[in-house]
Subunit: 266 residues, 2 copies
């Protein structure tokens, strides 16, 4: 499974302060910690920082590039100008992912051309002009609109990652099951991938890491291909390694046993 | 989910010694510990004890009955004479489950009449005359043979629990996925239930409790209705409570939050 490290996110006050004070060594440490823990991509979100997202995005991507040229970066912003700047600053060999478009016409018009021109991977939230879906069927309906649109505009849908929007079970008990049900349904559209922002599931509940790790196993069983999560969380990491072995993707459990011997399982 | 406590099993030397020495207070403590941890049934297996399974089964069931009259008991034996004795000794109000028949003709002829006559629940292993199945399709094929046979003989298939036979991923990496795939397939036969002996999945691997708990979550997502497991294992218990909440069976996560507050989650 593709692991997208979530830690560089300006909704976290600690990260916000690093960005505000231009503390490049701390930002690089966050990147390195996540890569060492197994992250394949580093998500960069600075929507809530100084008020100038474009300048902040420029700075973070430049800092990451200068320290670790080959890292894969997931540009996490609804703002096409911030995305454009991140792409312009990006010089390394790492792969880019844009997070995200929705079914909203303006957002597709602004962002899809960037993804096409720079051959990036692209996250699409199953969110329409009318807001968030409730059922798996509603998620599929929105995903189909997006799929048809981006395909008709010549985007390679193998690079499309649908995020079917996890909603907290604390307030909506059926939302876990609806999300899981939507994964195989959306994958019937074509050779697309499924991604999620994992931690939303446990919002408002105690021991969030337990809930996140159990839900991740279920979602991997349902067909999840990628997740935005904290790979330095030992329980999450254990869930990934164990699930890969259980789903037959770790021959003779070699990775699992290696992680156990390294003391990385919890 | 129906929890069948697995601890009274004579393959465990500690239990074997309790049976050999007729240590009723220790047996009753095993039962009470499992019931307090949430077991709905107590599995009783004494195939490997003194050599006289029938006498041992008589003694264990009598001891359990005398201490806790209303407990539900799962009689775990391939021997119809031991099963018959357990049923004869059983006097309480508890429900009985027989574990197990297979597709083997002799075993069905010996055991099915007991299940019918005493209106018990019945576990059916998807194992045929030719041994253990490998693929989900083979499991379904055997399950269909059993389903058609027990239905034609007038057994209420709502009381039928198929055990699709978990095999260790340590030696056969694809067996986890095949087992999971078989669950919804077998449930298409009718209003039957799915059960498993959970711990087989992790045989030969380190940190078995981690593997068992993650696999249980996946199996519950796939439609598992019951499992033979150790409910006193905190990680297994956490997996059950968390999975129930995530699958929308714990309104507003009340049970989950209660278990957290009671310090029962791990």
């Amino acid at each position: 499974m593709l692991i997208i490290g979530e830690r560089i996110n300006s909704t976290n006050p600690r990260i916000r302060e690093m960005v505000r004070s231009r503390n490049s060594s701390s930002i690089l440490k966050e990147v390195r910690d996540q890569l060492e823990a197994g992250a394949n991509f580093i998500d960069v979100n600075c929507a809530v920082t100084s008020g100038d997202e474009i300048q902040d995005m420029d700075w973070i991507v430049s800092v990451i590039q200068s320290g670790i040229p080959d890292v894969n970066i997931c540009i996490d912003s609804p703002n096409h100008l911030a995305i454009e700047r991140a792409i312009a600053v990006h010089k390394g060999n790492g792969v880019l992912m844009i997070n995200s478009i929705t079914a909203e016409d303006r957002r597709i018009r602004d962002i899809l051309p960037l993804a096409k021109a720079h051959n990036t991977k692209l996250v699409a939230l199953t969110m329409g002009e009318d807001g968030m879906p409730c059922t798996a069927e509603e998620r599929l309906k929105i995903a189909r609109i997006i799929f048809d649109r981006v395909r008709s505009e010549g985007f390679d849908t193998r690079n499309l990652y649908f995020d079917a929007l996890i909603r907290p079970i604390s307030t909506e008990p059926a939302q876990g099951a609806e999300f899981l049900r939507s994964i195989p349904m959306i994958k019937t559209l074509g050779d697309v991938k499924m991604v999620c922002g994992l931690s939303n599931i446990s919002f408002g509940l105690p021991d969030r890491s337990l809930i996140n790790s159990v839900f991740l196993s279920m979602a991997m069983h349902a067909g999840l291909d990628a997740a935005i999560l904290d790979p330095t969380d030992k329980r999450i990491f254990s869930s990934i390694k164990t699930s890969e072995a259980l789903l037959g993707r770790d021959d003779y459990c070699a990775d699992y046993i290696g992680a156990f011997r390294a003391g990385r399982l919890s």
